[in-house]
C-alpha cells in the first residue's frame, strides 16, 4: 500500500526536518537528549499523539473528526463528576470510556447512515460535546483522584516511561498493523480512494465508517482520562483547541486530506517533528499561542506543498507531451 516513490520523498523530508530541529534544541540545552527530557517530550502532549493515531484512520478513509477534543473534555469531566459522586474509580473510567464510544458512534451514525458530510457533523459535535462537558462541571474543577490513578499519568513506572506513554506505543503498533497489515486497513484505504468503487465491490462502507468513528470516540475518551491523570484534576475547558495539533500531526505525516493515501510511519515521524518543535520552542521561551501558530502554518503547508508539487508536475508533463 505504501507507494514507495512517495515514501522516500515525504518521509525523507520529515526525517531531515526532525534532525535539524533536534540539533537546534540540543545546542540550546545540553540536557535535551537526556532521558528525562525525552520522556517529558512525550508526556506533555501524550493525549494529542494518542488521538492522532485514530485520526489517521479517519482521514485515510476520506473523512474528518473535529469533535475529538470535545469528546476528550466530556470523558474527563464525566470521570471527575462520577468520582466526586462517589463512584469507584474503575467504574468511573469504564463509564467515561463508554461515553466516548457512544459519542463516536453518534457521529458515525450521522456520517455513515444519514450520509451527512463528516465536517458538519463533527463541527456540531465540537460545539455540542464541549457544551455538555461544561454543563456537567460548570466552572469548577475536580481533583483529588486516587494516587494509583495519578501515577498512570505522572509516575515513571515502566522503566523511565509512564503508563500513558506505554499505552501510546501499544496503540501505535495496533494502528500500524491494522492500517497496513489487516483486511480492515485495506478496506479503509479502498473507501478513502474511491467510495463508490468500494461499494460496487461489495465493501460494507457504512459499517466500516461507523466503526472508525466509534474507535475515534473511544480513543479520544481514553486520552481525556489520561489527561485527567496527568494533571490530577479536570475542568470543563480541558483539551480545548487540540484538534488543530492532532489534524496537523496526521496531515504533516503525508496523509492526504482527500483520503486514500499516507502511512503510519509518516505520521510517526511528523509526531516526533511536532513534539520536538513544540519542546524546542518551549525552551526558547516562545509563548503557547505563538507555538500554536507555527503548528497552524505547518498544517497549511502540509497540504499546500503537495498541491503545488502536483500542479507543477502536471504542467511540466503537459509541456513535455
Amino acid at each position: 500500500m505504501i507507494a514507495l516513490g512517495r515514501l522516500k520523498s515525504w518521509e525523507g523530508l520529515l526525517l531531515a526536518i526532525l534532525v535539524v530541529v533536534v540539533a537546534m534544541n540540543v545546542m540550546r540545552s545540553p540536557y535535551y537528549l537526556g532521558i528525562d527530557n525525552v520522556v517529558n517530550l512525550f508526556q506533555l502532549s501524550i493525549e494529542k499523539i494518542i488521538v492522532a493515531l485514530t485520526m489517521t484512520m479517519i482521514i485515510v478513509s476520506g473523512e474528518i473528526d473535529l469533535s475529538v477534543a470535545s469528546i476528550m473534555g466530556l470523558a474527563a469531566v464525566l470521570l471527575g463528576c462520577l468520582f466526586k459522586a462517589g463512584i469507584p474509580m474503575p467504574a468511573a473510567i469504564l463509564i467515561a470510556l463508554l461515553s466516548g464510544l457512544a459519542a463516536g458512534l453518534f457521529n458515525g451514525f450521522w456520517v455513515a447512515q444519514a450520509g451527512l458530510p463528516s465536517l458538519a457533523v463533527t463541527l456540531a459535535g465540537l460545539i455540542g460535546y464541549r457544551g455538555l462537558a461544561r454543563v456537567f462541571i460548570q466552572d469548577h474543577s475536580i481533583g483529588g483522584f486516587p494516587v494509583w490513578f495519578n501515577t498512570i499519568g505522572q509516575q515513571r513506572t515502566v522503566g523511565p516511561l509512564t503508563i500513558s506513554i506505554m499505552i501510546f506505543f501499544i496503540l501505535f503498533v495496533i494502528v500500524a498493523v491494522t492500517l497496513h497489515g489487516s483486511g480492515l486497513g485495506r478496506l479503509v484505504y479502498a473507501i478513502g480512494n474511491n467510495t463508490q468503487a468500494a461499494r460496487y465491490a461489495g465493501v460494507r462502507v457504512k459499517l466500516i465508517k461507523l466503526c472508525l468513528f466509534g474507535a475515534s470516540g473511544l480513543v479520544a475518551a481514553l486520552a481525556g482520562i489520561l489527561y485527567g491523570a496527568r494533571l490530577g484534576s479536570v475542568r470543563g475547558d480541558i483539551a480545548t483547541g487540540f484538534e488543530l495539533d492532532i489534524i496537523t500531526m496526521v496531515l504533516l505525516g503525508g496523509v492526504s486530506i482527500f483520503g486514500g493515501s499516507g502511512n503510519i510511519i509518516g505520521v510517526g515521524l511528523s509526531i516526533l517533528v511536532i513534539l520536538n518543535l513544540r519542546n524546542g520552542m518551549g525552551l526558547a521561551n516562545i509563548t503557547g499561542d505563538t507555538q500554536t501558530s507555527v503548528v497552524g502554518a505547518l498544517l497549511i503547508l502540509s497540504v499546500l506543498v503537495p498541491n503545488l508539487m502536483h500542479t507543477l508536475k502536471t504542467k511540466w508533463k503537459e509541456r513535455k507531451t
Binding site: 507507494a3 497489515g181 489487516s182 483486511g183 484505504y189 480512494n193 474511491n194 461489495g202 465493501v203 486514500g260
Partner: protein, 529 residues
Amino acid sequence: MDRQRDVRPIFAAEDPVRTSPESGDAVPILEMRNIGKSFDATQALDDVSLALYPGEIHALLGENGAGKSTLIKIITGVHQPDRGEIVFAGQVVAIHNAAEAQRLGIAAIYQEPLLFPDLNVAENIFINHQDRGQVVGWGRMFREAEALLAELGVALDVRRLARGLTLAAQQTVEIAKATSLKVRVLILDEPTASLSAHEVEQLFKLVLGLRSQGVAVLFVSHRIEEVFQIADKVTVFRDGRRISTRPRSETSSQRSITEMVGRETGLLQPRPPVPQGELLLSVRGLSRAGVFEDVNFDLHRGEVLGFGGLIGAGRTDVGLALFGIEPATAGTIILNGKRAAINSPREGMRLGIAYASEDRRQLGLSLPMSISANISLPVLVRYLNRVGLVRTSLEKATAETFRKRLAIRTPSVDLAVAKLSGGNQQKVMLSKWLNTRPSVMILDEPTRGIDVGAKAEVHNMICELAAEGVGIILISSDLPEVLAMSDRVLVMREGRQTAILNRNEANQESVMRAAMGQTSDRPAEGAST
C-alpha cells in the same frame, strides 16, 4: 412517466419540406473542416467536415461512441480539436470555453440541463448576461423572461425556483436562455430522451420557431423517427467518421440505419455455439420504479445473452438490479431453482453473481491501489489469516495466475492500477470479478475504449468462461461484438424489453430497429410462458 408512445407524424407527409438552399450560394453559419480528435489510444474524430446553414435543422445520427458528443464538445469549446479548424460566419475561430461559444451565439442543450437549482427561472435565463450591468433589475428581468417564454409559447412561472422543474420545463428554460443571447447555432444533444409525447411536440414547436428565425439547429438523437420528422438534412457518423450527409427527402430511416451500422463484421469470428447447460437464472417481470419495467429472460449455463440497445435504454440498470447495487422494486429472480432477493452487492456475490461496471476508472477499480489489492478486494476475507491479517503471498499468487491467464502486461502485480493502459486495466477488473468465481457474470461494455488486441483477448476470455459453464450477460453498444458473441440478444429501449432475438434472427438491422422503436413482430420471450 408514460414512456410508451405511439408514433404520430406531426406533419402530414405532403408538407413542403424546406430543402436547404443549394450549398453553392448560402454561406454556412458554422463549418467544421477536417476536424480530428483522439483521447489516449482511441481515435474519437477522424477528419470530419460538416457545415450548418442558418434556418436549417441538421440531424446527426450514429451509434454510441461514434463521435457525436465529442463533436458537440468541440463546438461548445469544452475540448479543443487536435487537427482541423472551425469557421464561424466566414472567419476561422478558436473556441476555448463555453463563454466564448456563447458570445459567438452557439448554445447547447444537453440531456441533463445545466441550471442552478437555487435560482429562479428568470435568473437562470439571464445569469450569464454580461451586458446587463452590475445591478440586477428584478422587475425588468421578470418581464423580459415572461416575454421570452411567451414568444416560445410556454407558460411558466418565472419566479419559482429551478429546483422543482420537470426535465421538459428545464429544457424550455435552456432554450429561452439561448434565445435571450441571440443564438445563431443551437445544439440539441439527446433532448427528447426522457420526454413524453406531448413534451416532444412542445419541443419541436419551439425548434421549428427558431428555425424560422434563421437559427441553425444541430439535432442529435437516437430516435430515428423523430429525426425523420423534423430534420431538413441528415448526417450519419460511424467510428468517428462522417459517412454521409443527405437532405431528408433523399434518404430514409432504413438507409440511415444501414449506414450507421454498416461495419464489416468479418474480423470477429462468431463464438462457436456451446451446448446449452441447464437453466441457471430466470427473471420474470423484473422492474425498478421509474427506471425499467417488466424484463423477462432466462439464462443457461455456458450461454451468452447479449443486451442490445442504446444508451439510456436501462440495460446497465438491469445489471445493477441483478447485482443488488440498485435493487429491483418488483419481479422475481430465480437462481439455480431457488428464489433470490438481492438487496446488496454482498448478497449478489454470495449468490454467485458478478457485475463488471462499464466505468472502470470511476466504479470498477481503485486506481492508486496495486493490481493484487484490486483483484482480492471483493473476496478479501478469503486472504485473511486467523488474526485478520492479509496473507500477501497468497494474494500475489492469485494475481499472478490472472496475470498469465489474461496476459496482463505489467512489470509486477504490485504496480498501481492507475499506471496501466486501458486494456490492462480492463483485464484487472475482469480478473477481480473472475476471482469471485461467479456462476452468473454480467459484463457491462467490457471492450469500450480499449485497443483491438486487448479486445480480442477479452473475447477469448468470454468464450472460455462460457465453455466452463458460466452464464454470461454481455451488455454492449458494440453491435458486431454482441452479434458475434451472443447466443441470443435481448434488446431494450427506454426501460422496456422490445425483443429477444436468437442467433439466426439477430443481425445489425433487426437489433437496431428493435433498439430504435420499430418493434419487431415477435412478442418478447417469456412474457407468454
